[in-house]
């Protein structure tokens, strides 16, 4: 909790925690990120299961505070390598020192790990990442990608490696979160890609970098004119982004000309570019779901998913969920014969079917059948009381937008200088929903 001025009463941490834990608001039962108790404004974000809170009594910019809290979390992660309760506890003094440089009297001063390095002297005590189960973004590269060092993303930016000198390397991740809503008849109602080019540099001497994107990349749909909306996807070819923004270190001098970005990457993890696309794209999975009555107290559910991508690509940690009518008491599942690495479950307390698949290879199709037993007669309107089907997945080496990093050039210091470059693509489901 950040209370940089002595204006907030003691015990506000307690007040905050209670308020968030037992939130009962006008409408929702989850505390909004900004709220006021007795004249004190509490602003918080959740990062990696931790709550970062700031308090103020003045009418400040809440987005500034929220951004700042996110950035503080990121700086701490840069320093500690991994962000969790344990690492925070071990590095309390360091975190204190960092905060002291990041904000002064409530004013953010700098959140650049690069800049902070010259003012901060405490050294991180790196927690043993091997002991920590892979979580979050770190985990998504763990499977099926032997070429990549798994611990890389959890490596501290500032700490020296046990072996002595640091390894020169740079990671560029093109991470896309896709949202698709299919109508009951399988049409795409909405589709969206939220993408980010994430960079984490461990390069010594901060060389300049050139990053080239698709040459035919075009930015900006023309207002409400839907001219591009559907035609372009039919024609294939060009990638049209709705909007994008860039990290402040990025020079866009050549961007309009040849779609290259030039930057001197600061230390630490940061987004080179964020982009958004609503141009239609080919969804990686097709979902087919059917609910049918089968007798007075029974119904049958059939869910089919088809992986609509190349056979060389494999999706992992796939889960498919579907709410069933509240009066469902029992569910028996039937998987296709020879199914490996698939589990099913009926979550009784929130009445959901859950189907987990460790892996889905491109081009394959999988089916789940489930028989539901009800405690009462259904209202004859099953499709309204069950569904929608919701899917979660991660697909490494796949990106929905077809935005690409054509090359990554590092200004050469000497002939022998050839640092490791990792350019990785990954697509994750954000809200991937099929209605019944």
């Amino acid at each position: 909790m950040i209370t940089d001025r002595g204006e907030v009463p003691k015990g506000s941490a307690e007040i905050f925690f209670r308020k968030v834990k037992f939130w009962k608001g006008d409408e929702a039962e989850e505390a909004p990120p900004v709220f006021n108790v007795d004249g004190v404004n509490y602003i918080h974000v959740k990062v990696a299961g931790l709550l970062f809170v700031a308090t103020t009594r003045v009418n400040i910019s809440p987005s500034l505070v929220l951004e700042l809290l996110q950035r503080i979390a990121r700086v701490i992660k840069d320093y500690l390598g991994i962000l969790n309760e344990d690492s925070l506890r071990k590095n309390f003094v360091l975190v204190y020192e960092l905060l002291d440089e990041v904000i002064d009297f409530g004013y953010p001063q700098t959140t650049s790990t690069e800049v902070l390095k010259s003012y901060v002297f405490n050294e991180p005590i790196v927690v043993d990442s091997a002991r920590i189960p892979p979580l979050g973004p770190a985990a998504m590269f763990m499977q099926g990608a032997k070429r990549m060092p798994g611990t890389a993303v959890t490596k501290s930016v500032v700490a020296n490696e046990p072996g002595g000198r640091k390894r020169d390397e740079i990671f560029v991740d093109i991470i896309e979160k896709i949202s698709v809503t299919f109508s009951s008849s399988g049409y795409i109602l909405t589709s969206e890609v939220d993408g980010t080019i994430q960079m984490k540099s461990y390069l010594s001497g901060n060389p300049e970098i050139r990053l080239a994107l698709n040459e035919d990349l075009s930015i900006g749909r023309s207002g409400g004119n839907s001219m591009y909306d559907y035609k372009s996807s039919a024609g294939g070819g060009i990638v049209i982004l709705d909007d994008c923004n860039f990290h402040e270190s990025v020079h866009l001098d050549n961007f309009d000309l040849d779609r290259t970005l030039t930057l001197v990457p600061p230390d630490g993890e940061f987004s080179v570019m964020n982009y958004r696309m609503t141009q239609e794209f080919k969804p990686p999975f097709r979902i087919n779901a059917l609910v049918e009555e089968a007798g007075s107290h029974k119904a049958e559910v059939i869910i089919k998913i088809r992986a609509d991508f190349s056979t060389s690509v494999t999706a992992n940690t796939v889960t498919v969920q579907m709410p069933v009518p509240k009066y469902t008491t029992r569910v028996s599942f039937e998987l296709e014969s020879g199914a490996i690495g698939q589990t099913t479950d009926f979550k009784e307390n929130n009445k959901r079917l859950e189907w987990c698949l460790n892996k889905i290879v491109g081009g394959s199709e999988h089916t789940l059948r489930a028989k539901l037993t009800f405690s009462q007669e259904s209202h004859g309107n099953l499709t309204k009381e069950a569904g929608p089907v919701n899917m979660n997945f991660t697909i490494p080496m796949y990106n929905a937008s077809r935005l690409q990093v054509k090359y990554l050039q590092i200004a050469k210091k000497s002939k022998t200088y050839n640092p490791y470059r990792w350019v990785r693509y990954v697509t994750q489901a954000n809200s991937y929903v099929a209605r019944l």
Binding site: S63, D104, F105, T110, N381
Partner: protein
């Protein structure tokens, strides 16, 4: 540095402090360093390490930067909690502020500014003066903030020493970081001062716009926010400003984007060319939408702001409604805000798409969200006349799912649709009547009865239907009763209204319609529901907390200049009886109080809704003491975000409820915009204790003897406590419970007291308690022993 810091958090053993003391005074700087770290660790978990203060401060005299910083880290945190001790280090601060190392100079000034003690501020002035003109920008930017800190402690000193002028000079500094901090400090000082301190001229404007391109993202926010106060001279200047600011919309930092949007919106007011305005709207749309790709917390802030923006400039996002469709994994607070915006952007062109979404949301799991989705369909029907029929058919589809809360919510909104479009959709009444028996919420029932009553002449069996409500009538909450009570009620107001209604219905439906139509306020499209002056004020506060709460800053910031003095600030807060969650944004706190020998109902109205509320009326149900309002309730029209405190005079013995005395006070409040609200209050007997309740000893004894023993009741009041005899006597006398005599029995104090209750009933009281030990035995003898339970309640409240 070796080992793990975690060991600093190991449990306190005896002798830890002396051990640390020894280490702090060690010869070896590594040991010292480790010790200071341990001290900081101990401090952060709340251990008292103040006895080590001098030892830590002694470590400060070192050339080792790392150690020095650690000591400062300790000091900065100590300065906030124990300023008196921090003064001990002042000499070192002053010395360090002239250190050759700029890092140390800055540290010294930064830390000194955090010690909020008046005495120290004088020492701070000279170092601050020097540091403001330091060669190193890191020192200057720290000093700039220090001026704001000092102003907060001692504004006069800052003005006398001319720091404000130096600060203004820093706006022209060649380092953007220094400029940004100077702007931030000046803006904050201006915020708390009534005098013009930081006026932005066209000269400063152009300087700041240049600095904007060079400084950090945070500095950009400071500058944009400060510049948003600037009023351009004409349209041309406004266009120039906007042109310089527009590139900020491309920034990855959402705070920068929102502050830029704020600034552009403000300048747009001055721009006359419709082409330019249209073009700007087009440029703002994609970045605004992109904010919704950020973390959910930021999305929430963005949505609250977009809500305001589309009310003022609906065209900006008119074509982007799809991005406001709820995602499966959106947190509930994001979904709720998206719904609001979907309603605002709904148009004849996109309504089919929107309805499809709402219909889907209405079958989701979260009950609050489902209800809001159903209401949203109703609000679209009211907003878009041509789509009303489609909305209704979606509502009917939802009713058929027979999910209880969906049906009830649908009926409530259908009632509103009927009121908006009278005599248009009554063909669906038959379908509505089918779900009659599933209704169990007062508002839904009331709505259904209203519909039946309204269209009684067209429903063959209207009387039968109404009768089905009458069966359950005695147990109904008053809200339903209001609409159909014709028999069995004791409330004269209800009975009268119901009789009129009933007679009209049975004799002359036309006349009934006239009356009902005349009574009800017009239902209008409330989707753009902020009052335009409030909207303008909120828009000028885009990208601040104000725009998230949708309340003007003075409604929640106590430090704001315009903060209106709250009346009766010293009074304890009134208990909340109608929370805004139940009152659709209206919150009522109330309590019976006694002032100058009279009973008042002290009420606090808070309008947290987004519309103006007026025409307040109050009604009390029959109660033991026949409490009723002595006059009409006079509440001024309540703007959104405003409050009103009322003292309503009360009279007693007006409409007494029969039966055993109880404390229940049922209150109904209505206004012109909302349904009638009902809440329960508790009558505390002591408000009736009259000023003439004092009894002479002789009189007391005589009365005591004259009453039969059966009139004596006693009870232990576990929550009551007497902290001192005299204090208790004084405290009770203020509540008209008067002292008669006292004595001591072993370790207990016995107090004899008297009070006079409603209609002059005397209470003779004996209190037995040990001082400062919770638990008071209270015995009372009175001609009306049936009031004893209420009396004990009152005494327990008074002695808490």
């Amino acid at each position: 540095m070796s080992g793990h810091d975690s060991k600093y958090f190991s449990t306190t053993k005896k002798g830890e402090i002396p051990e640390l003391k020894e280490e702090l005074n060690s010869q070896y700087k590594d040991k010292k360093k480790d010790a200071v770290k341990k001290v900081i660790a101990a401090m952060t978990v709340g251990k008292d390490v103040s006895s080590l203060f001098t030892d830590v401060v002694n470590c400060m005299q070192t050339e080792n930067l790392e150690l020095k910083k650690l000591v400062y880290l300790y000091l900065i945190n100590y300065a906030k909690s124990q300023p008196d001790l921090a003064i001990l280090a002042v000499n070192t601060f002053v010395k360090d502020s002239q250190d050759p190392n700029p890092l140390i100079r800055a540290l010294a000034v930064r830390t000194m500014g955090c010690i909020r003690v008046d005495k120290i501020t004088e020492y701070l002035c000279d170092p601050l003066q020097r540091c403001l003109k330091d060669d190193d920008p890191y020192v200057r930017k720290t000093a700039a903030i220090c001026v704001a800190k000092l102003y907060d402690i001692n504004a006069e000193l800052v003005e006398d020493r001319g720091f404000l002028d130096t600060l203004k000079d820093l706006i022209s500094d060649n380092n953007p970081m220094v400029v940004a901090n100077a702007v931030a400090a000046l803006a904050e000082i201006q915020e708390t001062s009534t005098r013009p301190i930081f006026e932005i001229t066209s000269h400063t404007l152009s300087k700041l716009l240049t600095a904007l391109n060079e400084c950090t993202e945070w500095g950009q926010v400071f500058i944009l926010d400060a510049l948003s106060r600037y009023k351009a001279a004409d349209a041309r200047e406004a266009e120039n400003i906007v042109e310089r600011v527009t590139p900020r919309l491309q920034h990855a930092n959402c705070a920068v984007v929102l502050s830029a949007v704020k600034m552009i919106l403000q300048q747009m007011e001055l721009i006359t060319s419709t082409d330019v305005v249209r073009n700007l709207c087009k440029k703002m749309a994609p970045p605004l939408v992109t904010l919704l790709s950020a973390e959910p917390e930021i999305q929430y802030v963005a949505l609250r702001n977009i809500n305001l923006i589309v009310q003022k400039r609906p065209t900006i996002l008119a074509h982007e409604i799809k991005v406001f469709f709820c995602k499966y994994n959106d947190p509930i607070y994001v979904k709720m805000e998206k719904l609001e915006i979907m309603i605002k952007l709904a148009s004849d062109r996109n309504i089919d798409q929107v309805l499809l979404e709402f219909k889907e949301y209405a079958t989701e799991v979260d009950v609050d969200f489902v209800r809001k989705a159903v209401r949203a369909i109703g609000r679209c029907a009211i907003k878009l006349e041509r789509a009303a029929e489609r909305c209704i058919s979606v509502l009917l589809e939802l009713i058929k799912i027979k999910v209880n809360y969906v049906v009830q919510e649908a009926i409530i909104v259908i009632k509103d649709i009927f009121r908006r479009y009278p005599n248009t959709y009554e063909s669906i009444i038959a379908t509505l009547c089918e779900s009659l028996d599933t209704l169990d919420e007062p508002e839904a029932k009331a709505s259904m009865i209203w519909i039946i009553g309204e269209y009684a002449e067209r429903i063959d069996n209207a009387d039968e239907l109404l009768e089905s409500f009458l069966e359950s009538f005695p147990e109904e909450p008053a809200m339903v009763v209001l609409n159909n009570a014709t028999v069995e009620t004791d409330n004269p107001d209800l009975r009268d209204r119901a009789y009129i209604y009933w007679r009209l219905l049975s004799t002359d439906p036309e006349a009934a319609k006239d009356v009902v139509l005349a009574e009800k306020p017009v239902i209008s499209d409330d989707s753009n529901n902020l009052d335009s002056s409030l909207l303008d004020e909120l828009l000028s506060n885009i990208a601040t907390l104000s725009s998230v709460y949708h309340k003007p800053p003075e409604a929640f910031v106590s430090r704001a200049k315009s903060a209106s003095a709250k009346p009766d600030d010293d009074e304890p807060p009134l208990p909340i009886l109608l929370p805004s969650s139940t009152g659709q944004g209206l919150q009522i706190s109330a309590q019976l109080v006694r002032r100058d020998g009279q009973v008042f109902y002290s009420l606090l109205f808070e309008n947290n809704s987004q519309m103006l509320l007026d025409g307040f009326m109050i009604q009390f149900n029959k109660n033991t003491f026949g409490l009723a309002a002595a006059g009409p309730l006079q509440v001024p029209p309540l703007q959104p975000g405003s409050t009103a405190r009322i003292l309503l005079p009360m009279i007693t013995f007006q409409n007494i409820s029969p039966g055993a005395p109880n404390t229940l006070l049922q209150v109904a409040v209505k206004d012109n915009q909302q349904p009638v609200w009902y809440f329960n209050d508790k009558i505390s007997l002591h408000v009736f204790f009259s000023e003439d309740g004092r009894m002479e000893r002789a009189n007391f004894l005589e009365t005591w003897k004259s009453l039969p023993d059966s009139n004596e009741v006693s009870k232990d009041l576990p929550a009551a406590v007497i902290h001192g005899v005299d204090a208790a006597i004084e405290h009770l006398a203020a509540a008209n419970v008067f002292f008669v005599a006292k004595r001591r029995n072993a370790d207990k104090e016995l107090l004899y007291m008297s009070a006079k209750g409603p209609s002059g009933v005397p209470f003779l009281i004996e209190l037995t308690a040990a001082v400062s030990v919770p638990g008071v035995k209270c015995a009372v003898k009175t001609p009306s022993p049936e009031l004893a339970p209420l009396f004990f309640d009152a005494m327990e409240t008074l002695l808490k």
